[in-house]
Symmetry: C2
């Protein structure tokens, strides 16, 4: 029986991760700056986001200030559509009742060929269905327009963006987390500014709203609540949790991508096409002491 | 305040579903045959699957027999990887301890041009990153190889397939549900035989296993448990729940696809590319009395 169990474990590993497992052991990791870490405590668990000031500096700065002012503590996810997004905030028309200023659009950045410190882009797929090319920068999934020379954060599961109305400069306080198949048609239309690097299973337990009401949960008491939201840098240095993410600009990461692209395991009776979906590459962080 | 609330609702609808909402109201629906319905009761909720005998007749027949013999009642999801799959069954090396025969591979079907009843294929995307073409058949997401003239069910979120080991004819009893970004590299390598048409939010609450143990949850008591699994046809006719799915071979469905492809709403400042991800099209069923 133990033999069978062990056997099944090996089979399962072969089945689903293959050489990715081996690659992960040799992975190089980057420690996330405490100022870019956000710890979100819900009633039944915690998730962790990494902010991305490279792509959305003003959004990140405003979000940090909102966290520091305890704006989100006690608020809830008031609009949650299974397979799509969980939207949180005060729900007052995306923060219109607050005195928080509207944010200018930060939808894409320019690829500066002559930058002193080059952007550490690791290519994944070219061409891609939604962009000329996809890749990773700082372990965030990005897409690229070769003609316009632009880069943007892509709406993969776990990505976090500010909600807005039709006006592109109307984001204030409310944000959403992608919880389903990547809605990449939203790319370059939203202030994407963070990603969930730990605790996505907690995010997936957030209470859904009714589909026929576009996910809006009318009763405040029915919603999943944010107990606290804190920056990593708020804790005294000796108490700060160390959070690691994969170094996407490293040889082991590229090796992992290749292994996923090639699928050489004998498990694959029909060889899959040698393409990679930028949003289907496991890339969680690690929270340590 | 009520004005603001109503306003936000309208904005939210514009924001995220656009004309899809209008299209859904005119949608044509198909009633699922009770023999193809599976009601799965977990401890904290129910989800519903539709079996697909068109693509996997032998797998479906064996699964029905397993349900009728109460094989799954009391078993659990013993291997659950967030963002990937929830695998359930008895965990004895994929059913090796049972007397259930192994299943032959049912990975794809031929497109029969001369069939008396033509296959009701509704095209979605051509070319697609993982296949020559994608589309819907009976509201199931499918992909197509134009050269080999083959069709297969694609690994979108909510799709259900039998687990196996390296041998392509080794499926027995254990199955998995896709709970994350579509792992389409598994297409044409697994017996995909069903999809979750209702209660995906219940599936998303299934207890995850540790990533460093490939999702395996060692302690049986830590796992999400299947209380009962029943075919729709088991209930007396007058007690049977009516379950509807979208008629993917209809004008309203095609209209919905077009609206999602074109994204004409003024919300879209940067026009998305006119492509559709077959796995990013909301397509849930409706359970009625």
């Amino acid at each position: 029986m133990i033999m069978q169990w062990a056997n099944r474990m090996v089979l399962a590993i072969l089945l689903l991760l293959g050489s990715t497992v081996a690659a992960a052991q040799d992975m190089l990791w980057r420690q996330v700056e405490p100022d870019n870490l956000v710890f979100v405590e819900l009633l039944d668990g915690r998730f962790v986001m990494e902010l991305n000031p490279r792509f959305a500096p003003k959004t990140v700065e405003q979000f940090r200030q909102l966290v520091l002012s305890r704006f989100y503590d006690g608020l809830s996810f008031y609009r949650v559509i299974d397979g799509f997004v969980a939207q949180g905030g005060d729900g007052s028309d995306l923060g219109a009742l607050s005195d928080v200023p509207e944010l200018n659009a930060e939808f894409a950045i320019d690829w500066d060929e002559e930058a002193e410190i080059p952007i550490p882009f690791t290519a994944v797929q070219k061409p891609d269905m939604f962009a000329d090319e996809t890749g990773f920068i700082d372990a965030f999934p990005v897409a690229r327009d070769l003609e316009k020379n632009q880069l943007w954060l892509s709406h993969c599961p776990g990505m976090v963006a500010m909600a807005r109305n039709d006006d592109i400069n109307s984001s204030r306080t409310d944000f959403y987390i992608v919880i389903g198949q990547a809605p990449r048609y939203l790319d370059r239309n939203m202030n994407v500014f963070a990603r969930v690097i730990d605790g996505m299973e907690v995010v997936q337990r957030i209470q859904r709203g009714p589909a026929d009401a576009n996910g809006v949960i009318n009763e405040d008491t029915d919603r999943s609540r944010i107990r606290t939201m804190r920056l990593g840098s708020e804790a005294p240095e000796e108490e700060q949790l160390k959070v690691l993410v994969m170094d996407s600009d490293s040889k082991p990461f590229r090796k992992m991508l290749e292994a996923r692209r090639e699928r050489k395991q004998k498990f694959f009776h029909n060889q899959p096409p040698e393409v990679l979906d930028i949003c289907q590459i496991p890339n969680s962080g690690q929270v340590t002491k």
